[in-house]
């Protein structure tokens, strides 16, 4: 169960997170579970040539925070204002 997936940003940074956390994003989820033999589901690696590292990092944090929140721990998720725009676009892309 404790499988991991690797998310790679545009700069080539690799973020290794739990599969469960990654599934928070609908897009990543369908990527990984799509019936066709897409490379992503086979390798467990997803590249995002459009998303920068900082943003991707924030996104990973968000995944974990979301899991926590759904388990009951209600904390706040702080977003630095300068990241907001890019973050929103990424969110739209990732359907999160």
């Amino acid at each position: 169960m404790r499988e991991t997936v690797k998310l790679i940003s545009m700069e080539g940074f690799e973020f290794v997170i739990d599969r469960e956390a990654a599934m928070v994003s609908q897009t990543i989820r369908s990527m990984l579970t799509s019936p066709g033999g897409f490379s992503e589901s086979k390798d467990g690696v997803v590249t995002f040539p459009d998303i920068s590292t900082t943003i991707l990092e924030k996104i990973c944090q968000y995944f974990y925070w979301s899991l926590q929140y759904s388990r009951g721990k209600e904390t706040e998720f702080y977003i630095e204002p300068e990241l907001t725009l890019e973050l929103m676009m990424a969110a739209n892309y990732l359907h999160t």
Binding site: M10, S30, G36, G37, F38, S39, E40, F48, Y93, H95
Partner: protein
């Protein structure tokens, strides 16, 4: 979203320009689209493994983002259509059996591809499609598939036929690839309800109907009913299974109904009436399994059970009618009833076992039995005889519980009877005979049956029967008491007496009989003992119902104890005195009536094994000149010999007729009582309703004949044939008394005729209308004047009598209510109490004129009590007594009673006009 600069919130921040600049040119769109198109093709060719989802997703995302959603969508459509066309071709070219396989395979592929494509263009699905209201991708895919493949003309028909062919094969017993079928049909279902219904279900149902029509026809011609039913069960189960395996569950109900229709409803009539194996045969032969199968199968179909019910009812009624009207059967009532019980048991069992104890069938059993039991109007008698037989002999080889069970069943039969009162009459007779001859097997059984009857019909039904039991008990105590007080009598001949209360026991005429000396002495002693303790009663010996135990010595030393009837005992005792007696001598000595004597002699002389007497000449018939001798050679195995028991028999024709007649007579007052009861509560009711209500009320006892009811009503309306049409109150009272006397006891005993009875009742009614001052006072609400009235009344009486010449004094009758009423009225007036004069007149049953006469007379004579005004007359001056006495009418006249009952009120009005006339009348009478 193109290059827009985000205004920095803080001045020292600077947002960097976007890293990825998207070139907004159509070429980009085309390029992106090409990539996607290529990807789709790969997907359809099962080459998707090399692709990167993310890349494709991003491309699709960008296209939509840059407002090329339209292009993407339409491109998608075209691409998919093209691919599907290819697939269509390949499917069409598939050979024979692999056609279905091919479809299945291609369908699976298509689904997979569709899924992938959908994932890739999910963004478009989310945004573009919802904003432009186009069909989402998944649905789009299905629709395309449907349009191009399933509904392509060639494939469509071929698909349908293949499927149906497979189904047919399976029905004929071949094994078919069910999984394949399931998948294909699932495909159809997924394509939409309509597709499934149109393309598959309808033709499926039609084909099935055809198939089963053929099948059922075949079966019906070749099998009998039972087999057919077995065969019919199978398809039902089969089809349900088929549906479970590879059809949509909604089809289940439809296919079941098709099968039912074809196999069952179309053939119901034929099956049920099938000769040699139809319903009737099954019923007769107790084919439980077949019947229950029929029940379940026909139960599914609308009119199935109704048909079964109808046929069964007919059959039952026919069969019942045969049993009941068969003259052979009527000869032995016990057999008759037993047969009925058996039949009932049989059908009850059938209904419980095969028909699931269905209420409707129970009801039809009840109604059929009711129908034919009442066809034979001797049924009540026979049932009573059956009970009698069982009570005397018990049920073979079994104890109390068995008897209980039998009686329960008899009660059920009893409920079917319409003429329960006929049964009551017979039962009373038979019970009396049983009790008196001491022949009941079990007292408890008797009592429990009576309790059952009571619960069924109410207290009235069984009150007399219970009275009979009480009598028996009391008699036992009385006899014990008798012997206690006369201990010397317990030596020698002993008697045991049963004292029967007249009302409870069936009426018997007393038959004369000379009892031998020893016996009569005892009887007298007992009688005096009894009358000593209960005076005011009258005892009469019923010699025709008694029995006696006689010790006899035959020949040298043959001693036997003979149990004989009282008559026979008298005859036998005669032989103590002389050896040889002629018929005439016997008749003279005993004074027993001819027919009874002949019968008891016959049973003693002519019956083999019981011939304690020898008759000369040796013939069955008793002639006047025959002589009788004691049979010295009488032998018997037993010490105690029973001779000539009085067994309850079927009645002879005359007896039957008589009993029936009596029953009819008894019914009349009951009908009348019912009518009166109903009218009292309803006051006004139309004719038909009256008849309906009366019939309902009397249902528990007998089925009332409407013509009879009508006659009774008429007899109630028309006044009694005596000349008192005026006074309805009196007549009503008399009628009531008359009815009471009819219902309460069997008035034939008193031996009074109809007219006599009526007169007696009238007399009683008339004399009952005595007025009590107290009653009057309470009725009119003036209690405080009671004493005054009484005083004044007595004073008036004195003075009136004083003024009469002596000769006439005896004739006056002051108990007549008129005087009380008049005195009451006057006192009340004096005290200024309001008393309704007319009501008073009505209550005391007098006439206006008479009343006023009495008033005047009283006023004149007893002024100080009544008088208000100054009028005062010297008593002596009055036309004393004369006019008054004569005025009191000896015979009422019909004043103005042409219409019904003008009450006092109306008469008052008329009176005022005709006052002159009345006074003239008075004068005439005087």
């Amino acid at each position: 979203m193109s290059n827009n600069n985000h205004n920095p919130r803080k001045k020292n921040f600077q947002i960097e320009a976007f890293k990825h600049r998207v070139v907004v040119d159509p070429k980009y769109a085309d390029r992106t689209w090409k990539i996607l198109e290529h990807a789709i093709a790969e997907i359809y060719n099962h080459n998707a493994s090399g692709l990167s989802f993310e890349e494709l997703y991003r491309n699709a995302y960008n296209l939509v983002l840059h407002k090329f959603g339209e292009k993407l969508y339409s491109g998608l459509v075209t691409a998919m259509t093209a691919h599907l066309k290819e697939i269509c071709n390949s499917i069409e070219s598939a050979q024979g059996d692999s056609f279905l396989e091919m479809i299945n395979r291609k369908w699976n592929d298509h689904n997979k591809a569709l899924h992938m494509i959908r994932d890739i263009v999910m963004y478009m699905d989310r945004t573009y499609v919802s904003s432009t209201k186009k069909t989402p991708v998944h649905e789009l895919g299905l629709n395309l598939w449907r349009d191009h493949i399933v509904q392509s003309s060639k494939i469509q028909t071929r698909l349908r036929n293949t499927l149906l062919e497979l189904v047919r094969k399976e029905r004929l017993g071949e094994v078919v690839d069910r999984l394949l079928m399931r998948n294909v049909i699932k495909m159809l279902m997924e394509l939409g309800e309509l597709v499934y219904l149109e393309d598959f279900e309808k033709p499926f149902l039609d084909a099935s109907a055809e198939f089963y029509k053929g099948e059922s026809q075949r079966f019906v011609e070749s099998c009998d009913c039972g087999d057919y039913l077995k065969k019919a069960e199978k398809p039902l189960a089969e089809e349900v299974e088929r549906v479970a395996h590879y059809l949509d569950e909604k089809t289940e109900a439809k296919i079941t109904s098709v099968v039912e229709r074809e196999m069952i409803s179309n053939h119901i009539q034929r099956l049920v009436h099938m000769e040699n194996s139809g319903l009737v045969k099954m019923l007769v032969e107790d084919k439980f399994e077949d019947l229950s199968r029929m029940y379940t199968l026909f139960g599914r179909v609308e009119k199935g059970l109704a048909t079964v019910r109808d046929v069964m009812t007919l059959h039952l009624r026919e069969m019942g009618k045969q049993i009941v009207t068969d003259p052979e059967k009527s000869k032995d009532p016990v057999e008759f009833v037993q047969r009925l019980l058996n039949e009932r048991d049989k059908y009850d069992e059938i209904i419980t076992k095969s028909f699931n104890n269905d209420k409707t069938f129970q009801n039809l059993l009840v109604s059929s039995f009711e129908f034919f039991i009442n066809l034979n109007n001797r049924s009540p008698e026979f049932i009573s005889l059956f009970v009698d037989d069982k009570m005397r002999k018990g049920v073979k080889g079994s104890g109390e519980e068995e008897l209980e069970v039998v009686f329960e069943k008899v009660m059920i039969l009893f409920r079917y009877l319409h003429e329960k009162d006929v049964f009551e009459k017979y039962y009373k007779q038979h019970l009396a005979k049983r009790l008196l001859s001491g022949r009941t097997v079990s007292d408890d059984a008797e009592r429990s049956l009576i309790v059952k009857l009571k619960t069924e019909c109410g207290y009235q039904f069984t009150s007399k029967l219970e009275g009979m039991f009480t009598d028996m008990k009391t008699s036992q105590d009385t006899v014990k008491g008798f012997y206690n007080t006369h201990p010397e009598l317990s030596e020698g001949t002993t008697i045991s007496v049963q004292i029967l209360t007249t009302g409870f026991w069936p009426a018997q005429p007393t038959v004369p009989c000379n009892l031998p000396a020893e016996v009569s002495v005892l009887c007298e002693k007992f009688k005096s003992h009894y009358l000593g303790t209960h005076n005011g009663r009258r005892l009469s010996w019923q010699t025709n119902m008694g029995t006696a135990d006689v010790k006899a010595t035959f020949g040298k030393s043959q001693r036997h104890e003979l149990n004989v009837s009282t008559f026979q005992m008298c005859v036998l005792m005669l032989f103590n005195g002389s050896d040889r007696l002629s018929y005439k001598e016997i008749e003279q000595a005993t004074e027993i009536p001819r027919s009874d004597l002949k019968r008891c002699l016959q049973s003693m002389a002519c019956v083999k094994g019981k011939n304690v007497l020898r008759k000369e000449p040796l013939s069955r018939e008793i002639g006047e000149e025959d002589c009788f001798v004691v049979n010295e050679k009488f032998v018997s195995k037993f010490y105690k010999v029973k001779i000539g028991t009085v067994v309850a028999q079927k009645e002879t024709e005359t007896e039957k007729f008589e009993t029936r007649h009596r029953v009819e007579e008894d019914r009349k007052p009951q009908i009348e009582a019912a009518v009166v009861r109903i009218m009292k509560s309803r006051k006004v009711l139309d004719h038909n309703n009256v008849i309906a209500e009366v019939t309902k009320m009397l249902q528990g006892r007998f089925l009332a004949n409407p013509a009879e009811i009508k006659k009774r009503i008429e007899s109630l309306i028309e006044p009694k044939k005596l000349d008192l049409a005026d006074n309805k109150l009196l007549i009503r009272k008399a009628a009531e008394i008359r009815r009471l006397c009819d219902v309460q006891f069997d008035s034939s005993i008193i031996g009074v005729g109809e007219i006599c009875k009526a007169v007696i009742c009238l007399e009683m009614a008339a004399s009952r209308i005595k007025l009590n001052v107290k009653e009057l006072a309470i009725q009119f609400g003036c209690v405080r004047i009671i004493t005054t009235v009484q005083k004044s009344l007595s004073a008036y009486k004195e003075r009136f009598l004083a003024s009469l010449p002596v000769s006439r004094r005896a004739n006056t009758d002051f108990t007549r209510p008129v005087f009380t009423a008049a005195a009451f009225f006057l006192c009340a007036r004096k005290q200024k109490l309001k008393v309704d004069k007319h009501r008073l007149i009505e209550v005391c049953g007098t006439s206006e004129s008479e009343f006023s006469c009495v008033l005047t007379s009283m006023m004149d004579l007893c002024f100080e009590f009544f008088g208000v005004s100054k009028e005062k007359k010297d008593p002596k001056e009055l036309n004393s007594g004369q006019g008054l006495v004569d005025v009191l009418p000896k015979k009422r006249r019909h004043d103005d009673s042409s219409d019904d009952e003008p009450s006092c009120y109306k008469r008052e009005k008329k009176m005022e006009e005709t006052k002159l006339e009345t006074q003239q009348e008075l004068k005439v009478l005087a």
